[in-house]
Symmetry: C2
Subunit: 272 residues, 2 copies
């Protein structure tokens, strides 16, 4: 028996999510089918994070027990040849026999992209939550900092999910502003330089807001509920201290609306 | 009578092209319909460049004669509220009475994005022609330089199109390599920094190749035929001097295949 560790990037736009469902196409299902062709039998793939419909991944990690002996480099190329171009296997590795992508994970990092005000970009609209109004970014940054630590995140989870505990530990929670000229912004800075002599050529005039959270575990919809609450703070509907109050015994109904899935990325997973 | 000048960005993926057709959705058709709601009558919109199906624009310019008197700022917001999010009006301006987006244009700039080798990105696949093999970039750069000047571009046009002359003047024709860490690259550098502690997180290992051409006019499919020929030079199927020979009396059949539309952008249009 061999344990494979796959690192995978995907555009979640058209999928029902990472996890196989009765109806619709899932990333797990597509890769399991591709692996089954090597194995000559069904293969079960375990993902570190079960991203929802529309959520993307830069570095999802998944593990599977297989018996075939193909070289990992050849396997990566063969899997990518079989998969659609919105799913890419970045690497395949042999892992220790007790490795499990989900249970062995030490931490996961999620990122969420927003832009507030200005004309939305036709080129990154599938990856950014565009809001028409300006937001109070310092208030959102103050609120984001409250989340670091070990807290009961019951106010920030999908209602109706059943988990043993809603206590989680968050080690990173911050919101950064990336100016349109910042090298880390998505399409804009690149596209602007395509036509430097055309000042009205598309280049968003408003900065990208990038929320990043690293933690040992996340509840379902937790990052999107946090981002939705941060946006309500940015709109002035709530104060930054609301975040601390929500962590000290708030209910889901008291927190903000769930942000849309398309701004969210599972950025990476850490192992020992 | 009032002449409006609109600057427009769009993701051409799902359209039949800029121009209105008997079947399918066009960018021209969508904006004409939106303008007709203000005018209370049909409006004809003239675009500077008639981009084909799948081709994008960062700064298409279009003009229309109208009689309504709405303020241009209000008009921009109202048009964007009516248009789908893959088409954005960047600005609306009042232009001189003799302004015509196509006939008044002094120069147009097109850009084409390619990546050669490595794993293709799930996030920019709609905007980059990904080629599996490495290319001889210096040979392509040498060939691209041959195009600057006034030449007969008969070898680089769509067959079956009827134009008075196939002579055009090109002032800029160059191919640049943007390293994955270059601030002008699309998603990659941004996405990499989302998860700096995850070395295997998605970040293309191969540079983006950016071909840029500025000229007084372009024949139909001309930039895509040039890029297709540059790629055949990059593959070693042809020598860079082939480009000069094609300009000195080559036929369309002698030049390279037409590159796919999705790497091409109408970057901007210059007026006096």
């Amino acid at each position: 028996m061999r344990v494979l560790k796959l690192t995978i990037a995907y555009d979640g736009t058209r999928f029902v999510g990472w996890q196989r469902q009765a109806e619709g196409e899932s990333i797990q299902g597509l890769i399991e089918e591709a692996l089954a062709r090597f194995e000559g039998a069904a293969v079960t793939l375990h993902g570190a994070g079960r991203t929802d419909a529309g959520v993307h991944a830069l570095g999802q990690v998944a593990s599977a027990r297989v018996t075939f002996t193909h070289d990992v480099g050849k396997l990566t190329r063969a899997l990518n040849a079989q998969l659609p171009d919105d799913v890419r296997v970045l690497s395949a590795e042999d892992a220790p026999p007790d490795f499990h992508a989900r249970f062995s994970a030490r931490a996961k990092t999620y990122c969420y992209q927003l832009r507030a005000g200005g004309v939305a970009s036709p080129f990154d609209r599938a990856y950014v939550w565009n809001l028409p109004e300006a937001l109070d970014v310092p208030a959102m940054q103050e609120a984001a900092a409250h989340l670091v630590g070990t807290h009961d995140f019951a106010a920030f989870r999908s209602t109706g999910t059943d988990v043993a505990t809603t206590v989680r530990t968050i080690t990173v929670s911050h919101l950064r502003t990336l100016a349109p000229s910042h090298p880390r912004t998505l399409a804009p800075s690149h596209l602007r330089t395509l036509a430097p002599s055309h000042p009205r050529t598309f280049a968003p005039s408003h900065p990208l807001l990038l929320y990043k959270a690293t933690g040992t575990g996340f509840l379902r919809h937790m990052v999107r509920a946090i981002v939705g609450t941060l946006v309500e703070i940015g709109r002035g509907w709530r104060s930054p201290d609301d975040m601390a109050a929500l962590l000290a015994g708030g209910t889901r109904a008291e927190a903000g609306a769930t942000a849309p899935p398309h701004g969210l990325f599972l950025a990476g997973v850490d192992y020992d």
